[in-house]
Symmetry: C4
Subunit: 213 residues, 4 copies
Amino acid sequence: MRTLYNQIANQNRERLAALSDGVFAVAMTLLVLDLRLPALEAIHSEHELAHGLLMLGPKLLMYFMSFLTLGIFWNGQQTQLNQFERVDRDLSWIHLAFLATITLMPFSTQFLAEFIAYRMALLVYWLNIFLPGALLFISWSYALRHDLVREDTRDGVRSAICRRVVIAQSLYAGGALLCFIGTRWSIAAILLVQLNYALAPQLPWIKEKRSVR
Amino acid sequence: MRTLYNQIANQNRERLAALSDGVFAVAMTLLVLDLRLPALEAIHSEHELAHGLLMLGPKLLMYFMSFLTLGIFWNGQQTQLNQFERVDRDLSWIHLAFLATITLMPFSTQFLAEFIAYRMALLVYWLNIFLPGALLFISWSYALRHDLVREDTRDGVRSAICRRVVIAQSLYAGGALLCFIGTRWSIAAILLVQLNYALAPQLPWIKEKRSVR
Amino acid sequence: MRTLYNQIANQNRERLAALSDGVFAVAMTLLVLDLRLPALEAIHSEHELAHGLLMLGPKLLMYFMSFLTLGIFWNGQQTQLNQFERVDRDLSWIHLAFLATITLMPFSTQFLAEFIAYRMALLVYWLNIFLPGALLFISWSYALRHDLVREDTRDGVRSAICRRVVIAQSLYAGGALLCFIGTRWSIAAILLVQLNYALAPQLPWIKEKRSVR
Amino acid sequence: MRTLYNQIANQNRERLAALSDGVFAVAMTLLVLDLRLPALEAIHSEHELAHGLLMLGPKLLMYFMSFLTLGIFWNGQQTQLNQFERVDRDLSWIHLAFLATITLMPFSTQFLAEFIAYRMALLVYWLNIFLPGALLFISWSYALRHDLVREDTRDGVRSAICRRVVIAQSLYAGGALLCFIGTRWSIAAILLVQLNYALAPQLPWIKEKRSVR
């Protein structure tokens, strides 16, 4: 009886994971649609084509930043899904809300790339980092409260996942605040925080975080 | 022999689930393509950009409503797939028809967002809620009649799934009828029904439904 | 040792199935992008909007026909994948070629919808039905020849899968030939053949086919 | 304890595989979006439509070449994932970087198809073959160094995978260099190398490679 129940519950988790992988895969690939070709008529030499490519630089940087964002959240969600014993109805809707914010990422990226000098665009982009982070936090708290986390998950891991989200989001918020000095400072700061989480250089003070992911 | 048979049948179910997750993931992400940026030339200040974003409000609301619709149907189909012992050829085509209506959702959403004041647009959108619901109803009846549902599925669950579809669709139809007063009333009513199913507030009279999902 | 080998071989099959489901899911959803909204400026009344929707009729029919095509080929490929004991390198490339023809389906559909009166458009569309069919035939012959089919697959099934492809493709070719009378006759004939395979009415002479799918 | 750990690690591998299959499926299908229809107004006869189709020839060739590239890399990544005992955090990011280069393939293809006479476009395309190859090389070296490869993977396979990448990339680089004679020579050379890997004619000197894939 218990086994059967787990089996059904597990299927929910598997299908939620499959839907999530699909949404991330499509969002990652759609980001590229914003990289538009230089106009054929405007190009008459290798030199002009090279220049046209260079002009794509900022959009390519935005693409790279958004791909990093998606990669970080994919990893973060995956870590949680792996730790779940099962997924109930409410937790499933929390993750659907999380996926809704993920599908908005190509829009925010395009928005920031187009209006890169505007604080408003930067804040919209930051919101698109804040919301999935907040939803992952809510997801983990909910799972802990409703006993949906595997029994073999150590206490250290349980608290570390929450702490990790709070620290990361504080750094992103700090970076976003820099937009009152200049949006480019914000972008640089957010990118640095992202690279720190993606590359995770082997410094002693982030050892613990590594063990969580 | 029997085991082998189940294994093959199960693979059909697994692949149908995988195809469905893929279709839902793409449809959810394509919804966003309708959120178009304000024209760069029209924006000269933070204030104008904020105004441009506000103008996206109705489209964002449509996006949100359609994402809810897709989430509800994804949950509904998943519940059924989990209860199936196996999937035969006809059941597989019923679900392909269901997926066809799901792929039309980005179109209906765009249609309603563009012609939000027209009853015709509202009725097309409602049709796109009615058809997948009807197909899920047909799917469940077919599975019950052809003995494709797991033996361990309780009788309460068997009837509750049908009842749930009928009640939900009656509420949607009622909401759609409000369009003869005004399409905005219809949208508000449909949205309320959806939020009810997604958030499922803890009222005693919907306890049973919760246990089904 | 043998077990391990099977496990690795099985993974190949699983990942080929996952890639295929993804390609079909995206192709099915992209078909809808060809359904374009009527221009907002041209619509001034419910009546004009209804008329605008009616004008989408032929495109909607094309969409429906292509979805049927994709559904039929998805079922056909799935049947084969389920019967494979394992998938070797060459078989994997045969299925990649098959998937390439599937990704072309949104293009052929759009092409036929735009140039519906031209024989050339009909022949291109037919080619896009013929090629995946031919590749499924090659795939099955290859698998039989290289002993990649499950040992428990009955001889009846082995020959029926080949026969089925040949009969279906003959019917499609016959339908396509009707384009020399008129392309609309071709479309009607192809649609009838497809509906026959999708709905598979319970006539005695197609019983055997049903047992294969 | 050990079993549980493997189970979690395995899930990581499964989800990385699922994300990869999704990205490849979307990228393969998006390639087709570059095949644009001839303008309806410009076509007045079957003959003009046939001519319009012929004009799509170069784009169709590019599509075919990019599909081959994606198929080759999908196979290459799959081979590695199957050999991994588990996937750790860093290896997962190496593969995310690999997937980022895969999502760029529709852009590079479009770029080369539009600017086919320019060396710069050829070099960008070659870079999009070189980068995923380099990342697969880094992935395999990392996995070997960090003991993430299955114990039952024979030494021959271990070295062959690295050698294979190096040989293939040398051939591609050689082909790309031909662009200083003419970009069409480069395209022909790259296509030949790809066909060699996809079709893998049964010559004795490539027997070993075949056993690896």
